[in-house]
Assembly symmetry: C2
Homo-oligomer: 551 residues x 2
Amino acid sequence: MAGTPLRVIPLGGLGEIGRNMMLLEYADDIIVIDVGLMFPEEEMLGVDLVIPDFTYLRENVHKLRAVFLTHGHEDHVGALPYFFREFACSVYGTRLTDGLIRLKLGEHRQLQKADLHVVKPGEVIDAGVFKVEFFSVAHSIPDACGLIIRTPLGPVVHTGDFKLDHTPVMDQHTDLIRLAQIGAEGCLLLMADSTYAEQEGYTPSEQLVGDALRNILVNAEHRVIIATFASLISRVQQVVDAAVFTGRKVFVTGRSMIDNVAMARQLGYLNAPEGVIVGVEEMRNTPHSKLVIVTTGSQGEPTSALTRMANADHRHVSIVEGDTVVLSATAIPGNEQAVYRNVDNLFRMGADVLYNRVSNIHVRGHASREELKIIQAVLQPEYFVPIHGEYRHLVVHSKLAESVGVPKGNAFVLTDGDVLEIDENEARQAGRVPASYVYVDGMGIGDVDQQILRDRAHLSTDGVVVVMVSVDKRTGHLERPPEILTRGFVDVEMNEDLLERSRRKVADQFKGADHYAEFGDINTKIRDALSKFLYDETRRRPMVLTVTVEV
Amino acid sequence: MAGTPLRVIPLGGLGEIGRNMMLLEYADDIIVIDVGLMFPEEEMLGVDLVIPDFTYLRENVHKLRAVFLTHGHEDHVGALPYFFREFACSVYGTRLTDGLIRLKLGEHRQLQKADLHVVKPGEVIDAGVFKVEFFSVAHSIPDACGLIIRTPLGPVVHTGDFKLDHTPVMDQHTDLIRLAQIGAEGCLLLMADSTYAEQEGYTPSEQLVGDALRNILVNAEHRVIIATFASLISRVQQVVDAAVFTGRKVFVTGRSMIDNVAMARQLGYLNAPEGVIVGVEEMRNTPHSKLVIVTTGSQGEPTSALTRMANADHRHVSIVEGDTVVLSATAIPGNEQAVYRNVDNLFRMGADVLYNRVSNIHVRGHASREELKIIQAVLQPEYFVPIHGEYRHLVVHSKLAESVGVPKGNAFVLTDGDVLEIDENEARQAGRVPASYVYVDGMGIGDVDQQILRDRAHLSTDGVVVVMVSVDKRTGHLERPPEILTRGFVDVEMNEDLLERSRRKVADQFKGADHYAEFGDINTKIRDALSKFLYDETRRRPMVLTVTVEV
């Protein structure tokens, strides 16, 4: 196979945040790393989720050997149910990742096509020509891993999402020793997490948060309510530890938090002494000073438990003066308005609210610049591809890599669909494969296109005006006055005059013709005339739709 | 007038960012401080601007004595053109503020009703029972002021927007000596800027930015393009100074930047030696290494000069490899996506892009917590009202005030419309006045209501489906097959089957009736049946509109 290149094909997560998915291809073998989803951006109106474009894999399905999952976050595993609608293959992940995707695939009735395998760090899996070894990384979910992938051309390292943390909560370190061994051996290609490539210095340790939460529980005279990500099991462990230390009981609320806590306890990722985590009844009988509540809703999700509390709409928890509410999370861009609406409402109800801007109660799960330099230092890769980030993250990460030793020109800023080919002599960009946004909207997968999104954007701005005309098909004359219906445009009752003049403007379009055929496209004529009239009158541009009935 | 209370009535800017407007009322006199606008939040679909609710002023127009403007930013003066559509009175502001609002009122043909007066810091204006003195503050626009308002009950201090800056660019300090004099005399009420009440420590000095910009111009080998706010004249001055130091010419682009630079030079707020600021021709003849371009577009505004450059669509400036682009601004919440899209595109074109996350090239214009404590310390007010901020900013600012000496219970967290009454003995909240969001959309002012916004939100999510049926009014039978028109819902060509079944579903609603009167509201019946059918088929909920023609 001399001369056969290794092909690196990102299908998602490069040039955007989320829907991470990477292919490695060599001759007749393809392996997949992560199959994640992305939450829609602002202009993707009405879209529920965005998943990677599987076209290339569809066309090369005979090469598909296995899927490897770095960890259980949605942006790395969330598109698996859509993947298994059309593909069937082995899936490898660590124990918690496996537990999470079993739940998810079960809900979508897609378990039968995924051949799931639990692996441990250090284990090596054969997949065609590739040999894949998992190694432990510190990240904001237990059991996170990166991958060392042996290829015919040399070892490739994929960091997954990671940071360095020398005092992590559950002893989950990034395995620098193993990485240094690969570095000593000679690393062909490094692909490393760029999410925080803009951030100077080091990401603080989880220990900092543990200390802060403990102080809050020690000092609060009344109840403490802590909202965080349901997958951030280590944070829940920190709360439980602080609760034990201060003699408080823990009540868990919010569906995904309840599910995750139950699964984490069952699998041994969350250790709580008997009697510390309590149900509704015991929570009700516990004085507020001896209580801490762990809840979902740190992102202001509309139906989450914390949002219900903030709206005085939670079944079991009513916020009272003296409560301390802790948002142990950062608002993800796009969620700020919802998060701060909750903060405002909780303040209005008399709670004291601690959030990231005023308190050190959250640290991020991604490596900052000094950590990224350390990874470069221990691996000293020949080639480098920054992964997981918007375009600017990838650019600054690639500059960072070149500044600490990656040979000039050997760092490649790829975006989704760009193919990188590496052979014995060199690496080069080699064309593209399809990598569109695939929108999931209701039951539709991939059927929402740019035209539909443009129409939704138009409708959202100035609403819709529907014009109905009945035309005598022999004479071409209006058979009755036009009807006009509007939504989202103007207040109809206050604008009867405008609507009356609009009807006349429509009727005017029929003047001077003797029979219908003379009009050409009467709908276009009506639409153009009415759009212009309405813009002149209101400086708004509603979408104008016309229906013509020939009688 | 013993017993007459001083009434503090915020009409905007308390509980939100923007549209700042405050009334002070005593017996038969009302003065207005600032008349600002707000840019619409995400859910205010299609809205152009939001202005304060003038209802209370309308009902008490005989009391209106004057408007005082703290500075020329849009969130403090932007609603004046709408104000002067219905009111007429004297307006007081410093010279640059006056220059900016003359431009604005002129554009709206509203100059004649505003009796404009230029004042200087230290000057005192009589307005009914009130005597109003302007004092200088450091902020991100020249000539910014706060107000000392003498009332029958004692002096009130309104800070406007401010920070402390001991090394400002144009010697524009916050006048701590004057404030300390009022503190010594006894300050009745302090109203202070809360925008940065969450931020620990001190806001850095403008000098920091000046040094950073100079270093960039010294080190860049090619052209440097600097985007900032058009009103941030001091930043432009820093660029001009650095250009002079490095022997570069300055080219200015972007309409509002050109206008502001022209006015600032004319009024003496921007000092540039002869020949430093150049036109298009000279710019074209200057080598890139001797050029710096100052431009609008730091917020990613779609038609701004920087966005045009990033889209290779600017008339005079084409980005080339080697260019350094500096975003000397912070992305205002809501603008991040547009700002970073520009950053990504500029990187793609080969420019080096420096932005706030990777470089110290912007400082904010608002005081951080330690500065807010100093203002409390020099004024030691009896009562305190935090202004300019979302609810949480007001809450944390009021806690800060109480922590440094405002008597417990004397700090009032008011939101728009809340009335605070202060008399010789106490202060208390005393009811509310109308303070709705007033939306400007096209030519409409205040006519867009919640129903219209809800309709736009519905339309934006899943589009619109229009059903047209012709009914024989004698028999109640369908006179022909129903017609269906959709936009923003599904791809019509790919879903002909769905549409055909939808038409049948509509036709089914006419079965079993012998004449028209039996249907009750046929439109409702069609809408409900079709909505349910489409949801079951697609899990989408388009807005369904029906038009019935009786023939």
